[in-house]
């Protein structure tokens, strides 16, 4: 029993310590964004990596999410004789919740893992030490462009996810299940208000910060991983970064929803 409590205590101390370290890291990255002019070429490169190259998976997952939603809502709404409300049901579900969350999950899988591994390898190969010795701030040079690029790209990807999802819902609802096209679009126009879109934007903005923060931070402190080094440490922090950012994103989702709904 005592051993279990000791273990829990040790674990808590490690986690609190890490949270503190990552918080200071995020603060420093934000500070570096505003300290001097950003390298726009690197920001654009990261926008291409995080944004443009994520388009295929965001479009595909958006399409299927919208299609599945239409199937589910058709089944439920048909029982109440309100299939005409399908457009608003699909759009609201996507805009308020599924769009931001699913996009963030896709970004965690594609960008979060790659960013974490890349930064961890840079650390292992002494590239950050080299930058520091060249009097170049690693936060400003490596981290700040990624943060800015994520903040630009992820809300845009979320918007694309929402639009494609609504289109997927239309394909299944109108073309397969025979719901009236006008009713689908009309109910959406009538019930989706600016506050819903605003919620989507705020959530995706917050998720962008959480996802890129944890991916970069975990990679940056790979050398502090206990008991492992080299390739094994990179693999461990990458796994941890994916899990931690998914959980943190869902936690932030709950908090944001409770304030915004």
């Amino acid at each position: 029993m005592r051993q279990a409590i000791e273990k829990l205590g040790a674990h808590t101390i490690i986690n609190v310590e890490e949270l503190g370290r990552l918080s200071v890291f995020l603060f420093t990255v934000f500070k570096s964004v505003f300290s001097r002019a950003l390298r726009m070429s690197e920001v654009l490169k990261q926008v291409a990596f995080i944004g443009a190259r994520s388009m295929p998976i965001v479009i595909l997952s958006g399409l299927f999410t919208g299609m599945v939603l239409a199937l589910q809502f058709y089944d439920v709404l048909a029982r109440f004789g309100s299939v005409d409300l399908m457009g608003s049901a699909v759009a609201l579900s996507l805009i308020q919740e599924l769009g931001p969350v699913m996009t963030a999950l896709m970004i965690i899988a594609r960008v979060g893992s790659a960013t974490c591994a890349e930064i961890a390898i840079m650390r292992n190969e002494q590239q950050f030490d080299a930058l520091q010795c060249m009097a170049i701030d690693p936060y400003r040079y490596v981290m700040a462009p990624r943060l800015v690029a994520a903040i630009i790209s992820i809300p845009l990807l979320t918007a694309i996810f929402n639009v494609i999802g609504i289109l997927g819902g239309y394909l299944v609802g109108v073309l397969i299940k025979g719901v009236s096209g006008t009713a689908y679009l009309q109910s959406m126009i009538e019930r989706v208000v600016w506050d819903d879109v605003q919620m989507s934007i705020i959530k995706s903005f917050l998720f962008a910060i959480v996802v890129i923060w944890i991916a970069m931070g975990k990679g940056f402190f790979v050398h502090l991983e206990k008991g492992v080094s080299g390739a094994e440490a990179v693999s461990r922090v990458t796994t941890k970064a994916v899990v931690a950012s998914a959980i943190a994103m869902l936690f932030v989702d709950y908090i944001a929803s409770s304030f915004l709904i």
Binding site: I121, E125, D129, A130, Q132, A135
Partner: protein, 268 residues
Amino acid sequence: MANDSESPLIQVNGIDSFYGERHILKNVNLAIQPGEILVIMGSSGSGKSTLLKNILGLLKPATGQIEIKGLDICQASKHELTELRKSMGVAFQGGALLSSLSVGDNIKLPLRHHTNLDEKTISIMTRLKLEMMNLAGFEDLMPSELSGGMLKRAGLARAVIMDPKLLFFDEPSAGLDPVTSAELDELILKLREAMNMTIVVVTHELESAFKIADRITILFDGEIVITGTVEEIKSCQDERVVNLINRTPRDERIDAQQYLQRLTRENQ
């Protein structure tokens, strides 16, 4: 060659350094004179890389003081440290080139960051350094396309691109064939001649150290055993220095009781 009448360029006063619980450096004192090539030697785990990291300001010693050009780097502000680092060059063991940039862009990096030179001048200066390192024509390659020796030379080219007066070189010979290693030694000597640099080299290669050093510092288990000229090192009678020079394996006395305990202990 060093001028003893001048005040030291680098002064290390009684530093102690730890990794967790492990005591790595124990009361290390060292003075490096302007214009000299000082080689820090020692076997693996002796603390030489930790000493270098402390001098570079990448690690903070637990106690003691390190002064470079009169600036206490342990107390210096971020701005002071940045200004100091602009006048220093560091060549890392594996080159530490940024993997996302080409060799040329890596070498141009300090110039683009710290000067207002136009791109044409930066390109000429980069090619000059690449020529110096026998890397002409490799400008557009990515670091992943270079061999170990080329990476070290490209790292060295980046370290000297700002024409620093103080250069640090971590393990120039490690993992290289004898010919490439000898070429790098020649390069270090050439750099000192051409640019009148003060050079600090960390290595465990005896031959290389004897060839390039004005003075050698030998570290053993985190303590400095001796700092002296090549002749002084060769004539030193300290058992640890003699063993290092003669490549004698450590004679570790085995306690029978402890040995048995280690063999039979339960896995934790």
